[in-house]
């Protein structure tokens, strides 16, 4: 993909006054993806940081129409919007569901899987900040091994992160992509592409979160980049079953280099209780996944 900052839609869809934290990765991602989706978009969101970002009634900083829904029902809500628009013969609106990892990986997986199986015409976005941040940084099934959360306060999380992207891949979707606000052009271009495709499109955004991950707010981009450079996060897209690495992950693949995960882990307070065994297990997990994606990647 050609990185070109001048191509990006100049219009802003989030006005000043969002209620998200300083340095929030989600907010950055949201800003760029709304630019890519442009006008004629309807959003639906569950309880989450994103819901808080949208502000308190009767004021919102977001200029895109948005329907709040309950925690487990984001994808079903998008199904309803899509069905309603189809019944009213309004086919040109892009329907977008966007939820955190908590509602996507955990309670919302049923409605997401259902909507994806029906190939509902919508874009589902999971912004993955690896925990229930809105309710105070509790563990979700997206929290990585060894991370401290408010519900794994002493022993840290004992289980690996669930590979939801693989689960979504098993739904045989027309388009699936992973991306990160640390690479806004990668993110932007994937959303421009997703908008053009019909059917269920799944977008996974790794969204660094300063208070939840316990790093200084100025480091969001740095942490986001380290996640990719250590192979914790792999940037790719799958279109019609063909997997392609993109952006930094693609250049890493051709140069064959990735950094040890300690580079990523040591900069975040959430990993401060991680044991050496956990670190080694996590490194082995990352290496295995990286090799797996290298093998599968085409062109």
């Amino acid at each position: 993909m050609q990185e070109n900052i001048f191509k990006i839609n100049e219009k802003e869809y989030i006005m000043p006054g969002s209620r998200a934290c300083q340095g929030c990765g989600l907010t950055l991602a949201y800003r760029y993806l709304l630019k890519a989706l442009r006008e004629n978009t309807i959003l639906t969101i569950p309880a989450s940081c994103l819901c808080v970002l949208h502000g308190l009634y009767p004021i919102t900083p977001v200029t895109v129409p948005c329907l709040n829904t309950t925690f487990a029902s984001t994808a079903a809500s998008a199904s309803g919007i899509a069905a309603g628009l189809a019944a009213l013969n309004k086919p040109d609106i892009t329907v977008v569901a966007m939820a955190g990892d908590g509602s996507t990986y955990d309670m919302g997986i049923q409605s997401l899987s259902g909507a994806a199986e029906r190939n509902t015409d919508f874009i589902y976005i999971c912004y993955d900040n690896e925990g229930y941040m809105n309710t105070g940084t509790q563990r979700s099934s997206a929290t990585p091994l060894g991370a401290m959360t408010t519900t794994t306060p002493i022993n840290t999380k004992q289980d690996q992160k669930k590979d939801l992207v693989k689960i979504m891949e098993a739904h045989d979707l027309p388009y699936l992509a992973t991306t990160s606000p640390a690479y806004p052009i990668d993110l932007y271009e994937k959303f421009v592409k997703a908008k053009r495709i019909k059917g269920t499109r799944y977008m996974h955004i790794y969204s660094p979160c300063p208070p939840g991950w316990m790093y200084p707010t100025k480091d969001t981009i740095r942490i986001g980049k380290l996640a990719v450079e250590t192979g914790m996060v792999i940037l790719f897209e799958i279109e019609d079953g063909r997997l392609r690495l993109t952006g930094r992950s693609k250049t890493m693949a051709s140069k064959g280099k990735k950094q040890p995960i300690i580079q990523y882990v040591e900069r975040q307070g959430r990993f401060k209780k991680m044991s050496i065994e956990q670190l080694n297990t996590l490194q082995a997990w990352v290496d295995r996944r990286w090799d797996d994606y290298l093998r599968r990647a085409e062109g």
Binding site: P58, N68, T69, S79, G80, I81, G84, A87, L88, S111
Partner: protein, 378 residues
């Protein structure tokens, strides 16, 4: 339209599928993966401006519980059939009304039907009511007793229904033409919008829902009247009555059990007992003034219910007592829990309860206790 199959609602979701696939019904049918999603689809489709329908029973209704509140809080005119069935555990596929009665406080209008003709007519009325007051309507009818029995039914004419039911106008529409965030977070207090206008807080919104329920009583009665004028069938507005003019013993209930009470009344009348029936057609909004009028001459009231509020009595009985309190209607109310999990309720059993009540009337004081009809209690 979205539905998820559950006995005894299942045949409804199957037949609607056939209508849609066969092109007889112009609709988008979303075959969701569960009832929580079925109600969500209805909520969101209604928010973009479509008219919606779903149906469920029992555990399916309970699985929707969170979304029932969400639908009412969003003030959406959703219409849903609840084909009443007992609730597990243990499993029972058979009829009682614990499912919908336990959802009484979710902010839905609840209408209970007593025969198949009333079901189809009430669904049409339900849209007209819901779309005037912006409250979702649950049309309840007894599983198997009504859902799996047949009677000749007049299918209302398409054009006539169209005339009776003007197109749906949403109060707020989710559209890129007028972007807004719907159902965002609220603080406990009222808050100004950017133009300086003080807007509702959570509590004002709740008050408005309650106020709409107050208005709904008139709307329901008017809708029934208008329906009777157009279609020639009058099912009663909030309540219906049978031989209550001179009745001393008045039986009451919701749905098919009230229809059984009509047969019991005929038996009692044949024995010279002045019996009558008040059928509670609308449970929410509770027809408080109507019941006071209907029971004003009663010497004894028998409330038969296919549900119970555990730890107290039937919810209908409590509501009746509350409505009569301080009105001068002091007839003793005998509460009977009946027909749970499909236990057969026969008119002669209701008549027997009536005879006992008459015997009790002779100078004895009433004990405030709930009796279990046709149930082995040890």
């Amino acid at each position: 339209m979205a539905a998820y199959p559950i006995t005894p609602q299942a045949s409804l979701s199957e037949i609607l599928s056939r209508y849609v696939e066969g092109g007889e019904l112009k609709a988008e049918y979303v075959r969701v993966e569960g009832e929580h999603s079925a109600m969500t689809v209805c909520i969101s489709a209604s928010t973009v401006g479509a008219r919606v329908f779903t149906a469920t029973s029992s555990n399916g209704l309970l699985y929707m519980h969170e979304q029932l509140h969400w639908a009412a809080g969003s003030r959406l005119p959703i219409v849903m059939c609840c084909v009443n069935r007992g609730v597990g555990a243990p499993w029972s596929i058979f009829n009682d009304q614990q499912d919908s009665v336990s959802q009484r406080d979710t902010g839905w209008i609840q209408i209970y039907c007593r025969d198949n003709q009333e079901i189809i007519d009430t669904i049409i009325q339900a849209y007209r009511i819901a779309e005037q007051v912006y409250i979702p309507v649950m049309v309840c009818y007894d599983g198997f007793v009504l859902s799996h029995t047949m009677m000749p039914v007049h299918i209302p004419d398409h054009e006539q229904v169209r005339r009776f039911l003007p197109p749906y106008k949403p109060h707020t529409i989710l559209s890129p033409e007028d972007p807004r965030t719907i159902n965002s977070v609220l603080f406990p207090w009222r808050r100004e919008n950017p133009q300086g206008v003080l807007c509702d807080g959570y509590m004002e919104m709740r008050y408005k829902l309650q106020a709409a329920f107050e208005t709904a009583r008139t709307v329901i009665a008017d809708t029934n009247r208008a329906f009777a004028e157009s279609f020639g069938r009058d099912h009663g507005g909030l309540i219906w009555t049978y031989m209550t003019d001179d009745a001393e013993l008045v039986m009451t209930g919701m749905g098919s059990i009230a229809a059984e009470a009509v047969a019991a009344t005929d038996m009692l009348r044949a024995e010279g007992i002045k019996a009558g029936v008040v059928g509670i057609r609308v449970f929410r909004p509770f027809p408080k003034d109507d019941v006071v009028r209907a029971f004003s001459r009663a010497h004894a009231i028998l409330a038969f219910e296919k549900a119970i509020s555990y730890g107290y009595e039937g919810a209908l009985c409590s509501d009746l007592k509350a409505a009569l309190y301080g009105t001068g209607v002091n007839a003793p109310i005998h509460n009977y829990v009946a027909g749970l999990g499909g236990r057969d309720v026969k008119p002669r059993e209701l008549a027997e309860a009536g005879r006992n009540a008459v015997a009790l009337l002779e100078g004895q004081t009433m004990k405030n206790e709930t009796r279990w009809l046709n149930c082995y209690t040890g």
